[in-house]
């Protein structure tokens, strides 16, 4: 009964989205307030029905209802509660359900919090959002229905893919989807602006909370996925330049550019046409990501199943939405009025620089990700484009961007003084020189350029500190007055500083671990030692330990540093009888921001065990930096200007706005 309710709710949601996609748009075109006012209740009802469908699927999983094919294929009643819940989205059908749920959720946020939006803009935006929802609901109902039944229900399910049986699955996909589906609403706002044929700085202010929210979730989702891959795959890598990872990085880069260009639009009424284009491109990249991951053109842990019909369906959605949006843009954008003037050396100029580099870096990732697919379909040659390509293209662009980043916030709007900014950054530059010298003196080995990388990271971090120090005048006025200034600073200024600081922290982590990390691979017998970077790891033996739906073979190791006992590590081989598969559960020991990483191979017949031991200096900084960025985004989101400052349109203005401006 429960799956049928879910199925039915899904169809009702489709019907509602069709109403939501037509009536408010007709209303906005004909200036009919009744039709336009249908947008809010239908968006809310749509969300409720999608939530019911999602809830029904989740309930089927929690009750281990194996008469549902999807549950049978991906769950097992022996799994702990958390994994029975998370396996809802640990498969193709369920993850698409999560996709449309989040899409509906963002539509609902516009319905609930969009009270200060102009009525026509809200009607258009919710209408466009409904079209996206309708397309994906059709996709689910036609090609990926999660509610199919099996007549004779099996007694036990086939279990979830073991790699996915990890708390990371509870966090990573929902967060990532909140990010990349979150940009759908920004896309809808952009299309709404084009349909209205009118765009002003207020648009950027209205859309900013959604850009920020989506960007924050995407940042955390990518970082979470990276940490998960790091500890779960047993190789200790934090980023593989795998096409699926790139699929989430591309919208992040475009979204970061959008975040910055929207500031220019809001403050200076410039870059309007460009900002609209970025909003369209960001969500287009999210759609391309969905296509890459869900269509089966790639093989990876993320491609749950391959069915050619699905690929073609998503491709059609992709072509219709991206093609339609860009065509509309080409038609309407020339009608939008150009905005304010600014000198090349200015805050705007710096943000344009940021946009150029972020979009170029994004383009290199797109080329590296799609070129192998294009080449294969054209010539049949199969190639792989791996880390060397991205390090040689993405790397230099990003380093240049980092070098210029600290200057941006110190330049004035309209016309900036680069010399004055450079003077203010003198302290940061000196500290970075000290860091370079220290890195040369303290670290042995590693690439010659690595200390300079440390220098850039420190420069970025200190640049963010300089920005706050300048704004509070901490060096020039008494501490009490500076503190009052600090409290009085707009939260968005703090947000910028935190996010920029976070980029520096992440860069420091990446450089630390890639330049000075070390590893040992060895076969050990009980009593053997492995020495690595001041640490001595002694193998004590293996024992087995049963779990709910798996069996562990645990290796026990004691760790000494400079002769002093600092703890034990227990890397594990976990085998899952239901699928006859096994996974590696690495053991991690944190020492400050650095980690020891130990993973176990299959024990040999003679009792020896192959192990991989890594020393990962400063590795935790990579994800700590992402937390800084998330926190900075949150501060910026809580800025009161975003809520109070957005003026309610006056009656007269509303009447003018409601005219289709053609």
């Amino acid at each position: 009964m429960i799956p049928e309710i879910g199925h039915y709710a899904l169809m009702l949601a489709l019907g509602l989205s069709l109403i939501q996609g037509t009536m408010p748009i007709i209303g906005a075109r004909t200036n009919d307030p009744v039709l336009m006012s249908m947008a809010v209740p239908t968006a809310l009802a749509h969300f409720v029905f999608v939530a019911i469908a999602f809830g029904a699927l989740a309930l089927s999983y929690l009750m281990s209802d194996f008469s549902v094919l999807n549950v049978f294929e991906n769950s097992n009643s022996a799994m702990p509660f958390l994994y029975r819940l998370t396996s809802v989205w640990g498969n193709h059908e369920g993850s698409m359900m999560l996709w449309v749920s989040i899409l509906a959720f963002f539509g609902a946020t516009v319905a609930v919090f969009g009270g200060n939006l102009p009525v026509t803009l809200r009607a258009y935006a919710l209408g466009v959002q409904a079209w996206i929802a309708a397309a994906f609901l059709l996709f689910i109902l036609i090609t990926s229905n999660p509610f199919l039944r099996i007549a004779d229900a099996p007694l036990q399910g086939q279990d979830l893919n073991p790699i996915l049986q990890d708390p990371g699955l509870a966090f990573h996909p929902p967060m990532l989807y909140l990010g990349y589906v979150g940009f759908s609403i920004v896309f809808s706002f952009a299309i709404a602006a084009l349909l209205e044929g009118r765009i002003d700085p207020a648009w950027a202010r209205w859309v900013r909370p959604w850009i920020l929210g989506a960007w924050m979730c995407l940042t955390l989702g990518i970082a979470g996925g990276s940490y998960w891959a790091y500890y779960e795959l047993g190789w200790g890598g934090f980023w593989f330049w795998d096409p699926v990872e790139n699929a989430s990085l591309m919208p992040w880069l475009a979204g970061t550019a959008l975040l910055h260009s929207a500031v220019v639009m809001e403050k200076r009424s410039a870059l309007k046409v460009w900002t609209i284009l970025l909003a369209i491109l960001t969500f287009s990249l999210s759609l391309i990501g969905t296509f890459l991951v869900r269509s089966g053109v790639l093989t990876s842990v993320h491609a749950f199943a391959t069915d050619p019909r699905r690929g073609i369906f998503i491709l059609a959605i992709l072509v219709i939405f991206i093609g339609g949006a860009l065509a509309l843009y080409a038609w309407r954008a020339p009608l939008l009025k150009q905005g304010g003037l600014f000198a090349p050396i200015s805050r705007e100029g710096a943000l344009v620089f940021n946009n150029l580099f972020l979009t170029s870096a994004c383009a290199t990732v797109i080329v590296g990700t799609l070129y192998p697919l294009a080449l294969e379909s054209l010539t049949g040659d199969k190639i792989s484009v791996g880390p060397p390509f991205f390090n040689a293209t993405f790397g230099p662009l990003f380093i240049l961007l980092m070098l210029v980043m600290p200057f941006g916030p110190l330049l004035g709007w309209k016309r900036g003084d680069i010399l004055a900014a450079a003077q203010r950054l003198l302290t940061a530059a000196l500290l970075s020189a000290v860091a370079i010298a220290a890195a040369f003196a303290l670290e042995r080995g590693g690439p010659v350029l690595a200390p300079f990388g440390v220098g850039i990271a420190v420069f970025v971090m200190m640049g963010a500190v300089t920005d706050i120090a300048e704004r509070t005048m901490i060096m020039r006025i008494p501490p009490g007055a500076a503190l009052r200034r600090a409290i009085g600073l707009p939260r968005s200024a703090w947000g910028t500083a935190f996010a920029h600081f976070g980029i520096g922290v992440t860069l420091l982590g990446i450089i630390g671990v890639t330049a000075w990390g070390s590893e040992r691979i060895a076969e050990v017998k009980p009593g053997d030692n492995i020495e690595l970077a001041h640490y001595r790891v002694t193998f004590d033996g293996v024992f087995s330990r049963p779990g709910p739906n798996y069996n562990d073979v645990v290796g026990r190791f004691t760790v000494h540093r400079s002769g002093e006992l600092i703890g034990t590590m227990e890397p594990t081989r976990r085998s899952f009888p239901a699928r006859n598969e096994s996974t590696t559960e690495a053991a991690l020991m944190s020492r400050g921001a650095s980690q020891l990483y130990l993973s176990l191979g299959d024990p040999n017949p003679d009792g020896s065990v192959p192990v991989r031991l890594y020393y990962k200096p400063h590795v935790l900084m990579i994800w700590l930096g992402a937390l800084f960025m998330f926190f900075g985004g949150g501060l910026s989101l809580s800025d009161r200007r975003l809520r109070v400052g957005a003026p309610r349109p006056a009656k007269g203005r509303f009447a003018a706005a409601a005219q289709p401006a053609e």
Partner: protein, 157 residues
């Protein structure tokens, strides 16, 4: 500066950055691309020793030999040709005889493929897509490679 000059500076800057990005990409494409080959491809195309390639196929049954220093030797086959592979290190969780594998490395002068990476990537059928395609091409694809754990037949609603 006039509006026109400012716009020119912007457009010039944009084109400049784009040119740099394109130059970086072309340069990277020259040295960092790795082609995928099946054992038959290697035999037909006469891949020269030292060229980095990806080699994909099935791990031949009974060919895995483990020796000291964690060195593993096995043969990769696509049903037509076989190539001996040597690898030092810990194998990924899903490495098995009779299953698909992708190894990255280069041939040495003796015709042994010296792999530095054995890819752990796989889909739920244990068959990397490249390997499946290569097997289909060489006519050695068997449907049971792709068989999912059996769902009771004909009982889908």
């Amino acid at each position: 500066m006039t509006r026109k000059q400012r716009r020119l500076v912007l457009i010039g800057g944009g084109l400049g950055v784009l040119a740099v990005a394109v130059a970086l990409m072309l340069n990277a494409f020259r040295d960092s691309i790795v082609f995928f080959n099946s054992p038959s491809d290697v035999a037909e195309k006469h891949v020269s020793p030292g060229t980095r390639i990806r080699l994909g196929g099935l791990v031949k049954d009974g060919s895995v030999v483990r020796s000291d220093n964690m060195t593993i030797r096995f043969e990769v086959t696509d049903g037509k040709s076989e190539i001996p592979v040597s690898y030092q290190g810990v194998l990924p969780d899903l490495f098995r005889e009779g299953q698909g594998v992708v190894a990255e490395g280069a041939l040495d002068r003796g015709g042994v493929f010296d792999a530095d990476t054995i890819l752990a990537k796989h889909d739920e059928k244990y068959m990397p897509k490249e390997v499946a395609d290569a097997l289909k091409k060489s006519g050695h694809w068997q449907d049971d490679y792709a068989q999912r754990p059996a769902v009771p037949v004909g009982q889908n609603k």
